[in-house]
Symmetry: C2
Subunit: 201 residues, 2 copies
């Protein structure tokens, strides 16, 4: 990576950290510069304005997480191993600040039509991905025609964003962990009821 | 209702309208007073400070909506009529500004520990209610032991709050309506599979 790309990366990471830890309203050029250890002017050498930086930051974290999601769910054929993969991916979403930054950008999108448009596009990308995953899990099973995959993907996105709001309100991550734990017996049962991927029509 | 209670009600309704239409950050004493058509000083005759008003407004809208939820779901025994009741209640949540105001208060709770505590208590009340509803719907059916009611209630709360975030981002209510429509065939199927309430063990 050349020096310009390295500097750009550093700004994007600083923007994500600042959004995740300080929130959208506090994510000024100054705050992002302090978090990244560079002068505020550096931001404007790489980005037109803060909206431009936020949009690039959303794509940056989204791309990185999408790569991990595709990688980790690729081998998960049955509901239990899919749940296990999603649980680990969710823990990474938390640890990297991804989910907190995205939630702040969704809230902050109310301040700018351009930001809203970019955030909507990223949400749509994740919705499509969730739909693909769901279709793959249910393909060749009785659930295939039963679950409206597009609507279920929307519901999953809403749930994911809302869980982050509740987590923020609680001040701890117990709620998310309890949900994954509670889903385990259901996933195991579903795994027993559904034909394994190899034996599907 | 005496004149003091009437004035208090008017302030509470103005606070909910302002939160719902202008957002938490813009809900100053002045903005609420303009919305309600009274002098800002009137607020401080009835409430200690804005947090005190926001907490009272959250309980006020929550009490009113809870009363409607209990009333409208009381006669809904099967999944389809429950879904229909919830769809109408959700439309009311939207029309009254309830859901938008609550979402703003959940976001705004980050600014004050006292506000956060009050919002958490209201969320917990709705979570318990959702759990009760779910247990009533599944009582005496094979789903009773299958669905972890507490975790499912948490998931429903997260979904409800997240849907409002996405709706805000979209700028229209199409997403929520599509979800209710997509859930209808599922509810109908579930109604056919589950024993009717009168014939349960």
């Amino acid at each position: 990576m050349n020096r310009k790309a390295e500097a750009r990366d550093r700004i994007l990471r600083a923007a994500i950290d600042t959004l995740a830890t300080q929130g959208f309203a506090a994510s000024t050029a100054r705050a992002i510069a302090v978090a990244g250890g560079f002068a505020p002017g550096v931001i404007y050498y790489h980005f037109d304005d803060l909206d431009d930086l936020f949009l690039a930051a959303m794509r940056y974290t989204s791309d990185q997480r999408m790569e991990r999601y595709v990688e980790c769910t690729a081998t998960a054929g049955d509901p239990s191993s899919m749940l296990q993969a999603l649980r680990e991916l969710y823990a990474e979403d938390v640890a990297t600040g991804h989910i907190a930054a995205v939630q702040e950008l969704v809230v902050g999108a109310g301040t700018s039509a351009r930001l809203a448009e970019g955030v909507r596009a990223e949400i749509a990308r994740w919705e499509e991905y969730a739909e693909t995953l769901l279709r793959r899990l249910t393909a060749g099973t009785p659930l295939e025609d039963l679950i409206p995959a597009r609507a279920a993907a929307t519901a999953v996105m809403a749930f994911y964003l809302g869980l982050e709001m509740l987590t923020h309100l609680d001040g701890d991550r117990a709620r998310g962990e309890a949900l994954f734990a509670a889903a385990e017996p259901l996933a195991a049962l579903l795994g027993m009821l559904l034909p394994p991927p190899g034996e599907r029509a």
